[in-house]
Symmetry: C2
Subunit: 326 residues, 2 copies
């Protein structure tokens, strides 16, 4: 198993990238190929005890800034994410993992790997913490406009992910809508419902509403990238706002301060539950190669977990499951 | 000031409806006309000391069940919500307030009052608690499909509400999208952006993302009814899930249980902040009459507050503000 890591990906590249790679190589016993500026990577790698670990470096002279336009992907052939993608294309690596510019990373993967035959639009998916564990949400921002067929394909790809990466035998797949009944929601959602109802391979459970997502009423929640992006970002903002509100209220009350100190482990557990670093990166589904795209602000743990997701997708033959599902 | 209350609205009609009406009449010194089954209302009203309060009863023989199709609005001319709407149409009341079947209530108001000239689609709006107080969100579920012009009109109506009901001199109006920049989001949102940018009367602050809504980065957040419905319901489910998670974690730890007891006032403050009953009902904007539509599960306090919102909209001449904004 070889994962090509774009070591020039994160905001503080290559510091957490190399750290995460070292952790992943040690913990998972896999090869993590560090793609990027070899001098910077070597300097960083020297800080760790890497005996017995397989961490080859592949030099890439260029890199793409977070602020750069996606056009940079075509202009900079030697950018680290392009080089990493090419390694997957040429079977020198099994998956690419990057914390770089998301738009550029998606373009690099799409241009470099192409789409899986039958897939009209790739979608970005992400794990989402729920009351019952986690669900998988897609699309979270690539396709702000969709057709019913796209949603149908997102559902197939999401089911493949849930089976092969999350390890669920029969994941409950749902469409995000404004009501549970079949006739609810925008025309596109209603038409996607009709398509999914006819698919006997997928455990399609119908529509879920916004409240059902955090409650964990589905394992795979399918929507356009506009709604999915709002779900992800609203959840982030709301969790932060609620915890901030409770803390502010506690500070107003001396007795509550003492109480909060005692209750702290419970809040810490919540923090862990919601911690982005725990569930790694987003995954670009529909391109012909396993492609993990995480936040630029990822720490080493998040990068290690993003590599873990890539490894699981390869081991679970997720791409085959998508092909079979179509 | 006369508010026509559909006394046969809530799930446990007319119990909380009459209770809320009595509270509103006392607290606000206004006339609340109780529309519905006169025997049931009289029986309920007899439980209160209503001396000095103006609570006339207007009999309506029919009522529309929560499960009934909107067609019932046309079939049941004598349904309490239809009678209440007619009172507003005939200037016998200044506003209608109902906790009944939302779809039916919207249809009743639309058929009975008509649209404000220039408004293509009415929208349902709701207050939303934020870190900075409250914002106003619309549409939250009527129009799952929109055109840029609808969003533009929603913005004008939302601004009128924020000015005349929330009392904000220059409310910050924003479009909900996937990024703050002008070019972000679905085509419809981008076109609405272009329209709003040209409006000099509205304090249009551009796009907000999902995370900005609970943070209170805008006073009026405009979206289609699909996204707005997801925001409202996701927030409800997520707040419940997060608080449930914290409580479960606390129960696992004896020390934390003691802490939680001390921290309880802080949690109670959060509960109050998020309590639907505190901010009353939704408001249907764009029909030619003030129309408040609350949850069927509203308690007396929620109904009293829904009446308060109706009163404020009348006092603030909200309909005029909408007409002037167009």
């Amino acid at each position: 198993m070889k994962i090509a890591l774009d070591a020039m990906g994160s905001d503080t590249r290559p510091v957490p990238d190399v750290d995460g790679a070292v952790q992943a190589a040690r913990e998972f016993g896999i090869t993590v190929i560090l793609v990027g500026d070899q001098d910077k990577i070597k300097t960083e790698l020297a800080k760790y005890d890497t005996r017995g670990l397989d961490l080859p470096i592949v030099h890439a002279a260029g890199e793409i800034a977070m602020t750069e336009h996606v056009d940079a992907v075509k202009a900079k052939k030697d950018a680290s994410m392009n080089v990493a993608v090419r390694m997957v294309k040429q079977k020198e690596a099994d998956a690419i993992v990057t914390m770089g510019n998301s738009g550029a990373a998606m373009a690099a993967a799409l241009f470099g790997l192409g789409r899986i035959r039958g897939i009209e639009r790739p979608a970005l998916g992400s794990a989402y913490p729920t009351a019952k564990g986690r669900c998988f949400l897609l699309d979270i921002g690539v396709n702000t406009e969709v057709k019913p067929e796209y949603l149908y394909q997102f559902a197939i790809m999401g089911a493949a992910y849930a089976q092969r990466v999350m390890g669920l035998a029969s994941p409950r797949v749902a469409l995000l809508s404004v009501g549970e009944e079949e006739g609810k929601g925008p025309l596109i959602v209603r038409e996607a419902y009709a398509l999914l109802k006819q698919n006997r391979q997928i455990n399609f459970v119908g529509n879920v509403e916004g409240k059902d997502v955090p409650r964990g009423e589905a394992d795979v929640v399918v929507s356009d990238g506009y709604a999915g992006n709002i779900v992800i970002k609203l959840s982030e903002g709301l969790a932060e706002t609620l915890v901030g509100f409770i803390k502010a209220e506690i500070k107003k009350r001396p007795v509550a301060i003492a109480g909060a100190a005692l209750a702290k482990p419970a809040f810490d557990a919540l923090k862990t539950k919601l911690d982005y670093a725990e569930f790694g990166g987003g995954i670009l589904l529909g391109v012909d190669g396993v492609t993990i795209i995480g936040h630029g602000r990822s720490n080493a743990k998040a990068i290690k977990n993003a590599i873990r997701v890539g490894k699981q997708a390869v081991e679970g033959n997720m791409l085959d499951a998508i092909r079979k599902g179509l």
